[in-house]
Symmetry: C2
Subunit: 210 residues, 2 copies
DNA sequence: ACATATTTGTTGCTTTTGCAACAAAAAACA
DNA sequence: TGTTTTTTGTTGCAAAAGCAACAAATATGT
C-alpha cells in the first residue's frame, strides 16, 4: 500500500461511530467476507493481512489481491459475473471496518471525527487502489513466469528502496499471486539464480542486475 | 463501460470551461498521451475508442486497457515503475478532455455547469473504473488461453444480454488483450468450435453451453 | 519437546503455448 | 476499380509451463 493516509492515526476517534458501521475481528484463516451479490459492501482493513482469493473449478487457487493495513476492499468494487467463489481470507489476525459504501458520503448521525476524516481521505484511498490494480494488471500481462517474477521483484525493490528485500508471501502463495504453477516458478527461480540475475536466500531476494 | 453517466448528455454545457482543461482531437492511430512521469494528468474520452498499450523489449504488444466513451484514464492512475513504453493510442477518431486531476475538485473559475456536473459524477466514474480493472484482473489470472477466451466471452455475452455477440476487437488485438500468442489463440478458438463450446462466424460468437 | 502439518525444493514426463512462416481473405487506399 | 496492406487461418517445430510425486526443511500446535 502506497498511501500516505494511515488509518491508525485516526482510529482513536472511532468510538461508537454512527450505527451504520460494524467493527469486526477475525483470526488467521477465517473468511472475512465472500463476494456473492452486490450489497455495496465497503471494508477497510485496520490491522493484519488478508487476501482476495478465487478457487476455480480445476481446484486452482488464485490470489486476486493482497491487502494490508489501510487497504480497502468489498463487493462495491466488484460486479460479480463470475461463477467462481471469491473470498477474502485473513492471513493473520485482522480488524476490519465494514460500511455500506453510500453511507460514508452522508454525514454520520453522531457527527464523529473519524467518519469525517474517512470521507475526507476516501478519494486518496480509492486513487491508491486504482494505482495498485494497474500495477497488478501490468504484472499479470507479462508473458512468461520469468518476466512476472522480475516485474514483481522490481516492485518490491522499488518499495523497499533497496536491491535486497523479503517476499511478503510464502512461495506457494507467490505462485498463486502471479497466477503460475508453483513448481514451474521454483524452477524459474533456480534458473534466475544460476544465471546470476538474483540471489535468493529463502524469501530474501537480491537483484544483481542493472 | 458500465456507468449510467454518459458524458455526452452534459458536454453541451462545455463551452469555455475554466482554462485548466484542454479539449483535443485525435485521428486513428495517433498517440493521445504517453505515460512517462506523474503529471497528475486525468483524461476523459468524449468520443471514439482508444487503447492503453505496452510494447515490451521482446516486441510484444499488450493492450492493458480498452477505452470507450465516458471512460477515464491518465497518469494520475499510474505509478510508473515500469521501463516499458505505455501509450494511449486512438483506435478511431477521438475527442478527449485533459485535466490536471486536482483541478477537478476545485471550483471552476467560470463556474461552468459542465465542471460542476463532472465533479459530481467523478466518484461514479472512478468506481466504474475499479470495477473494470477488477474484471480485467479476474480475466488475466485465468490459467489457460481457453479459460481466458471463455471468461471474456461470458463478459461480452452478459453485457449484450445475448448468447450471440460481436468481439469489439480484431482477433490480433484480442490476443494482445488476453496477453496470449495469436496463433495459439486461433488454435484454441478452433478447438472450442470443434468441441461445440462456441459457434464462430468471423468476429461473431455464440455460446453453446449452459 | 514432540508429533503433525505445511512449505520448499526437485525432477521426469505431458500438455500447452509460443514462434516462424505462409497462403487466403478482407480491408484500406489511391 | 485495382493495388497494397492488414488480418485471418493454419501448421510444424521448439520452448515453456503444468502436473504429479516425493523427500527434506520449516513451521505449528499441544
Amino acid at each position: 500500500m502506497t498511501t500516505s493516509f494511515n488509518i491508525n492515526e485516526f482510529i482513536y476517534d472511532f468510538k461508537n461511530c454512527c450505527n451504520k458501521v460494524q467493527k469486526k475481528s477475525f483470526n488467521k484463516d477465517e473468511t472475512i467476507t465472500s463476494y456473492i451479490r452486490n450489497r455495496n459492501q465497503f471494508c477497510i482493513l485496520i490491522s493484519g493481512n488478508a487476501d482476495l482469493v478465487r478457487y476455480d473449478l480445476n481446484g486452482n487457487r488464485t490470489i486476486i489481491e493482497h491487502f494490508s493495513e489501510s487497504d480497502i476492499f468489498g463487493e462495491v468494487f466488484y460486479s460479480i459475473t463470475t461463477n467462481n467463489e471469491l473470498l477474502v481470507e485473513a492471513k493473520s489476525k485482522c480488524e476490519v471496518l465494514i460500511y455500506n459504501y453510500y453511507d460514508i458520503h452522508t454525514k454520520c448521525t453522531k457527527n464523529c471525527k473519524f467518519h469525517q476524516t474517512l470521507s475526507e481521505y476516501l478519494p486518496e484511498l480509492i486513487l491508491n487502489k486504482i494505482t495498485d490494480l494497474n500495477m497488478r494488471v501490468e504484472l499479470l500481462t507479462k508473458r512468461t513466469t520469468r518476466d512476472k517474477l522480475l516485474g514483481y521483484f522490481n516492485l518490491l525493490s522499488t518499495k523497499a528502496l533497496n536491491k535486497t528485500f523479503k517476499i511478503p508471501f510464502s512461495l506457494t502463495d507467490l505462485a498463486d499471486y502471479l497466477s503460475v504453477d508453483r513448481s514451474a516458478m521454483m524452477r524459474e527461480l533456480k534458473l534466475l539464480k544460476d544465471e546470476n540475475f538474483i540471489n535468493k536466500n529463502g524469501k530474501e531476494i537480491t537483484l544483481l542486475y542493472k
